[in-house]
Amino acid sequence: MTNDASGVDHRPLGLLAELTHRCPLSCPYCSNPTRYGPVAEELSGDEWRRVFEEAGELGVLHVLLSGGEPLLRADLADLVMSARRAGLYTNLITSGLGLTPRRAEGLREAGLDSVQISLQADEQGTADRIAGMPAHAAKLRAARLVRELGLPLTINVVIHRHNIDRVESIIQLAESLGAHRLELANVQFYGWAFRNRDGLLPTVAQIDRAESIAAEAGTRLKGRMTILYVRPDYFGDRPKACMSGWSRRYLTVDPVGDVLPCPTAREIPGLRFDNVRHRSLDRIWAESDAFNRFRGTGWMPEPCQSCDRREVDFGGCRCQAALLTGDASATDPACSLSPHRDLLERAVRSAGPDAQPLVYREGPGRTGAARGGRDARTC
């Protein structure tokens, strides 16, 4: 055993606070779980305040106020203030829907440090089709509002087969909005996105082209706008260092207070999660079954166990291993050394130009009854 013996050698640096799973959008790649807890049981403002205080004491420096759509929490400005008082850097991760000038001003006054707005594409038709509702215009207004208030703006666009050929125009749009940073986030296949994998996977040629456009723009815009583009693990040789290692740097608290080592950890059958209503965050970080299951390197099978990269990529992603192989402690099939690598290569090979119908996210908080999220639609 290396890190495992004493329990915890690392402090967490980042807290993902999923304030609600309610959301007006129904993106077919949503990273939220495909099942939701009851809305009535969402943590109260007082409970979140305690979570932020305990996180600060544990060493956390950053909080991502996310969801679902966090603006659906009427007490969001109070939550920002609580997080700032706990010494945390506050990032709002939002669709932008519901960000009125008045709310934006209130959030800034509460001490909000930074805003990330998601866009689905560069133009309204594609964007609204992916979001499952007319949202694009409101998102652009929200982005401009963030810049007018002088807050740093990150634009995040989940990239998949239906918008990857528009990367050049997406970069231009982010630039024109005055974004400080653009995340071209290749879709990762968990939850809803895994259900829609055949309809979302780009081809190798699409990935290569987007990569070179992003690299060229990154050089051109250096010092003005940072562009993040990471080659997705389905198209690489080595797995991503998921979460910088299980239970090493990050923790997630979901809307009802369950504490997860990563936001998609529910993909792993049999993990038990503790809840902030019953235990303190430092005890959960150190003692929770879910956190200790894959902490360190002791759990690793071969070829990870004797690999000189075992503390570089930490065996890749546990959720992906569980989803693809049925065994959460297997080597991530994204690694070319994995005996299950073929599972992933077959999926990439079969990605073609034919549009597959997408299943749109259903969940709490969607408005507009006409949107028919139950239907499989062609994007």
Partner: protein, 104 residues
Amino acid sequence: MSPADDPPPPHPSSRPLLAVGVRIQSDRHGGGMVLLYPEGVLRLNQTGADILSLCDGRRSIDEILAVLAETYDAQAQDFARDVIEFLNLLHARQFIRFTPGGLS
């Protein structure tokens, strides 16, 4: 990286300032100072923290060098290059911006 890609040195009268969304605070868990920005954390050593605490948008680079010379009891020309290199590095990562000097 070709020499043409190197950033031009900031003018000695320009006044560095932390960019929007960047904060410096003490790290109550690990000790020392950290620079916080939208995507992460940069741990600062004492010298780095000293330099950044002077980047208030009012002091010019020349004035910052003079304060550091006094603090460390050293000649500014002996460390000016290192300080400017550090500032350029932070500028390339959008942690600071340079406001033109000459105005007040």
